[in-house]
């Protein structure tokens, strides 16, 4: 057989890679084998462009039970329990078919969590879209509606609370939205399940939906740019079946309570191929299957199609020989048919048969360990020469009050109520901070503890300064869980970038990874897993480099959760941290002055760490009535948001500074606005002083107006109700149906 250039191109393989395949096999591959290599060596599955750099991330820590390499990471949360979590992207499918793309993304990450033996208890999502108005506004609104409905459609149905997330709207995402979904589960720390095959002769089971022709080469699609021909690749999108997954979830958790299971992995990207060779590779074993036993939805499917299908809601399990009846009984109870499709072998080979005839025979090592690794060239992008400067003098003067209302109405800053009311935020009665009030917080039943989760990532900062942008993303996500009173104990990350074959993109990627690694080390937050999504481009235009960081934090006493809202008249407002007058990359510059310019805010990791420590201690001491960090929109937005959802409670604030714009809208990092009872003010200020954290009383809670003076001059004086109206309705206005 000769494999020509077009066949290779169709499989996304280079001639060099083809030669590697021949070397690994010591012969030419069959078509089925070529298909298998093509998906396993796709960027999506092999991490060939990113692997070298991901090694720089710190992945160990005293609480880490499982780092990268399994279906999800796990950290110890005490009481013999583990928090299991991971983030995953479904960007490309969500652009093509927003509802199903987002829904199946949710389905995929949930499977990664319960395959670890964890009961999924919370979902988060980080979304990026283009502007809701302007030339692509109508299309973007449709995408937003579809994505939000799809996330809700899947999560609500399967019954896992969606407890938070974040959404930003920026031009570069118009042709390539981002849909990143995080799932958190709780497992018995001593009973984490691995995706491992071992024990020669142990049976291999397939369970879940039947295999169809859908999604063939989905992994390859996620490894290529979009262009006007992408429409042809469309059938790669699948329809999610949350009901099937609910059955799988319950049946698998029930099976995991027995000791009949050796290992399990879901069939996500690259389907049966990936699960078969990865499980074998992890266990140092081989797996032999016969595709004739694979349940099929369509007739006449070839081994090639069966191995590459990405039909959703399927799992591969290895169980102990002799326990088959018990396993089958559990799946039968849930109306799932478990099909015995093969056995574990000792030869380290993935062997695929079709009615007994061998159609593929590949050493696991060749597929997994010997996959190509590229050290792609990098080059600092030229845009950085001019984008990082701002000509402040050229900015038109704007009334601060109007600027605040403008920024509050920016969809990125505005309340996301329109979105999160479409999600079941409470199912399983663990959510102990209502949606929109803080990082997502779930209690851990049967303990006193709670877990806070936050996701963050500012694409503008990363565009202007990728290294610092990634550091800021980690710092902000950690700060957000800290504001809930939690200690950050682990992080996951989803690295969304353009085409890594372009040196400028690769440079952004490497800078971000290195920045992230440095921040993780400094703040002592290990990375336990993640995902890389490259080729986020349409017609040669890349998205902003967008690392999304999810941080998980632990609260020892669930009764001490802190939220963002001011609570009581007369409470003292204290600013922890200090402003450095940084407007670069700010929401204010973008919204009010239509500029994405300047350098990202500076970040001193030692100061950040001290700030977080003081806040954690103050929360544990019970001093904090509220806590909210300063991010998009600066302290003006922070203060406004502290007043919102309180029934109109206001505040009177005095800030330092000479320029109101800078004092109000600077996005200097490492700042938290807290409110405390007057009797706790001294305690807090002394604790901060002892830790070397700048802290200052900036005002008091009370009245029904938000009044801010800057350098003694009145800058903003607005009724909370008026500002809140702007903030709450800004997003839904775009989605109001036209009256008949």
């Amino acid at each position: 057989m000769t494999i020509d250039r077009t066949t290779l191109e169709r499989h996304g393989l280079t001639p060099d890679e083809y030669e590697r395949i021949v070397r690994a096999l010591h012969r030419e591959p069959t078509m089925t084998e070529l298909g298998i290599f093509s998906v396993m060596w796709s960027e999506h599955c092999s991490y060939k462009s990113s692997r070298l750099h991901l090694r720089k991330l710190p992945t160990r820590g005293p609480r880490v039970l499982q780092g990268p390499g399994e279906n999800a990471g796990a950290v110890d949360i005490g009481d013999g329990l583990a928090a299991v979590f991971k983030i995953e992207s479904h960007n490309h499918p969500s652009f093509i078919e927003p509802y199903q793309g987002a829904a199946t993304g949710v389905g995929g990450i949930i499977r990664d969590i319960f395959t670890m033996g964890a009961r999924p208890i919370a979902l988060m999502n980080a979304l990026r879209f283009g502007p809701l108005d302007g030339p692509h506004g109508a299309r973007t609104r449709r995408i937003v509606e579809g994505v939000v409905a799809g996330i809700g459609g899947y999560g609500n149905s399967i019954g896992i609370a969606t407890i938070g997330g974040e959404i930003a709207f920026e031009d570069p995402y118009a042709g390539n939205p981002l849909v990143n979904v995080l799932c958190l589960g709780i497992a018995d720390a001593s009973a984490l399940v691995k995706g491992t095959a071992s024990g020669a002769g142990n049976p291999v089971y397939y369970v879940g939906a039947k295999t169809g022709r859908d999604g063939i080469h989905g992994a390859t699609m996620a490894s290529a740019e979009f262009d006007d021909k992408s429409a042809e690749k469309r059938p790669a999108v699948q329809v999610g079946d949350p009901f099937m997954e609910k059955l799988l979830l319950e049946a698998c958790l029930e099976l995991m309570k027995t000791d009949a299971l050796i290992g399990v992995q879901d069939m996500g990207a690259a389907g049966l191929t990936c699960s078969t060779c990865e499980m074998g590779a992890r266990g140092g074993a081989g797996i032999e299957i016969d595709v004739q036993h694979v349940p099929q939805r369509e007739t006449g499917m070839t081994p090639y199609e069966i191995m590459l299908s990405e039909s959703q809601e399927r799992m591969l399990l290895v169980v102990k020989k002799g326990r088959e009846a018990e396993v089958e009984r559990i799946f039968d109870k849930w109306d799932l048919h478990a099909a015995h499709i093969g056995e574990v072998t000792t030869d380290g080979v993935m062997r695929v048969k079709d009615h007994g005839r061998v159609v593929a025979e590949i050493p696991n090592g060749a597929l997994v360990d010997e996959a190509p690794v590229y050290d792609r060239p990098t080059r600092r992008p030229a845009y950085l020469d001019h984008a990082t400067t701002i000509d402040a003098a050229a900015l038109a003067r704007v009334e601060p009050r109007d600027a605040l209302l403008d920024v509050l109405a920016s969809p990125t800053v505005a309340s996301k109520r329109w979105v999160y009311t479409q999600y079941d935020t409470m199912v399983r009665t663990n959510t102990i901070a209502l949606a929109g009030l803080t990082a997502g917080v779930v209690r851990v039943k049967e303990t006193n503890r709670a877990i806070a989760v936050a996701t963050d990532g500012n694409g503008r900062y990363c565009y202007l300064n990728p290294r610092r942008g990634a550091m800021l993303a980690l710092a902000e996500a950690a700060r957000n869980v800290v504001c809930a009173g939690a200690v950050p104990i682990g992080a996951t990350n989803c690295l969304n970038f353009g085409n890594p074959e372009r040196p400028e993109i690769m440079w952004q990627f490497v800078e971000c990874v290195e920045g992230l690694a440095e921040a993780c080390r400094a703040l002592d937050v290990p990375i336990t897993g993640g995902n890389v999504s490259l080729y986020n481009e349409t017609d040669g235009k890349a998205i902003y480099p967008t690392p999304i960081i999810g941080v998980v934090g632990l609260i020892e006493d669930a009764a001490k959760v802190v939220t963002r809202t001011f609570k009581r008249d007369g409470d003292v407002v204290v600013l922890l941290g200090e402003d450095r007058g940084e407007l670069g990359g700010s929401e204010y510059l973008r919204t009010v002055h239509k500029r994405v310019r300047g350098d990202a805010p500076s970040l001193d990791l030692a100061r950040e760490r001290a700030l977080q420590a003081v806040t954690i201690d103050a929360a544990a001491a019970g001093w904090l009535r509220s806590a909210h960090d300063c991010s998009d929109g600066g302290i003006a937005v922070t203060l406004a948001e502290c007043c919102f959802d309180t029934g109109g409670l206001g505040a009177t604030i005095e800030l330092d500074g000479t320029s109101p714009e800078t004092a109000l809208f600077s996005e200097s990092a490492s700042r938290i606005v807290v409110s405390v009872a007057p009797s706790n003010e001294r305690d807090l200020l002394e604790a901060a002083a002892a830790a070397g954290v700048p802290a200052r009383r900036i005002g008091t809670v009370g009245g029904t107006r938000l009044s801010i003076r800057v350098g003694g001059e009145r800058a903003i004086d607005v009724a909370v109700g008026e500002a809140e109206q702007v903030w709450t309705t800004a997003l839904e206005k775009y989605f109001k149906r036209v009256a008949a």
Binding site: S157, Y420, Q422, T425, V427
Partner: protein
């Protein structure tokens, strides 16, 4: 007393009902799988929320054929207290234990948030500890809670005082703005003629503990404990 929480494939608030009755209320509670045919000696039955059979076809349409349903019908016929919450309410409608049907929410969107209902009737086993006119702050979480019944049925429901809960605003007024899903007459929950079967869209079981944002749902579950201690259980 003992609650049976029926679990259909796709139920997802089964644990919430179990947790509320067992751990918050301190009563006995047991899950009953839909393929069983006995209620295991329960004194009250809860059909929990969720998406039984994915809610594919119509909400509750497939679940009503479950093997357990004849036992539920028989229990209800003998006067046993049955509470259908959200999807459980939809199943009761499909099973004909309660009249009417569910349509998609007026704005076609799933909605999850706290709303207020007004207790209209207190002579049901699930509201006897409540005051008439009492406002309860409860979460809703549904895409198809737009209750529909034709004019005849509505007249009967009114005449027989069978509308148990109505959506209202903070002042207790039943207004269009306070109606989250388009339900006819702001109906949030109803009961059968014998008053022992109650269905409602809001989730009282999610509102039984302070940290969750409301404890107003407790009164429903406590009522049935009171009712049974007064009147004795049906077996």
């Amino acid at each position: 007393m003992k609650f049976a929480v029926v679990v259909f494939p796709g139920s997802n608030c089964d644990h919430d009902a179990y947790h509320a009755t067992r751990h918050v209320l301190g009563q006995d509670a047991e899950f009953v799988w839909h393929k069983e045919t006995q209620l295991k000696g329960a004194d009250a039955v809860i059909l929990p929320g969720g998406f039984a059979h994915g809610d594919y076809l119509r909400t509750g349409a497939i679940a009503r054929f479950s093997p357990i349903m004849p036992a539920v019908l028989e229990f209800a016929r003998r006067g046993g207290p049955v509470l259908g919450i959200c999807n459980g309410f939809q199943i009761l409608l499909e099973a004909g234990l309660l009249p009417g049907a569910m349509l998609r929410n007026r704005d076609l969107k799933y909605r999850c948030e706290h709303i207020i209902v007004r207790v209209e009737q207190t002579d049901t086993p699930f509201t006897m500890n409540a005051r008439r006119g009492q406002q309860l702050r409860l979460p809703i979480a549904h895409g198809e809670g737009n209750y529909y019944a034709d004019a005849d049925v509505l007249r009967t429901l009114d005449a027989e005082r069978r509308v148990v809960f109505r959506y209202c605003d903070e002042r207790g007024e039943v207004t269009a703005a306070a109606n989250p899903n388009g339900s006819v007459s702001n109906i949030a929950g109803i009961c059968n003629e014998a008053r022992n079967v109650v269905g409602l869209m809001p989730h009282p079981e999610r509102a039984c503990e302070g940290p969750l944002g409301s404890v107003d749902g407790l009164v429903l579950l406590q009522s049935v404990v009171t009712a049974l201690s007064r009147e004795g259980a049906v077996r």
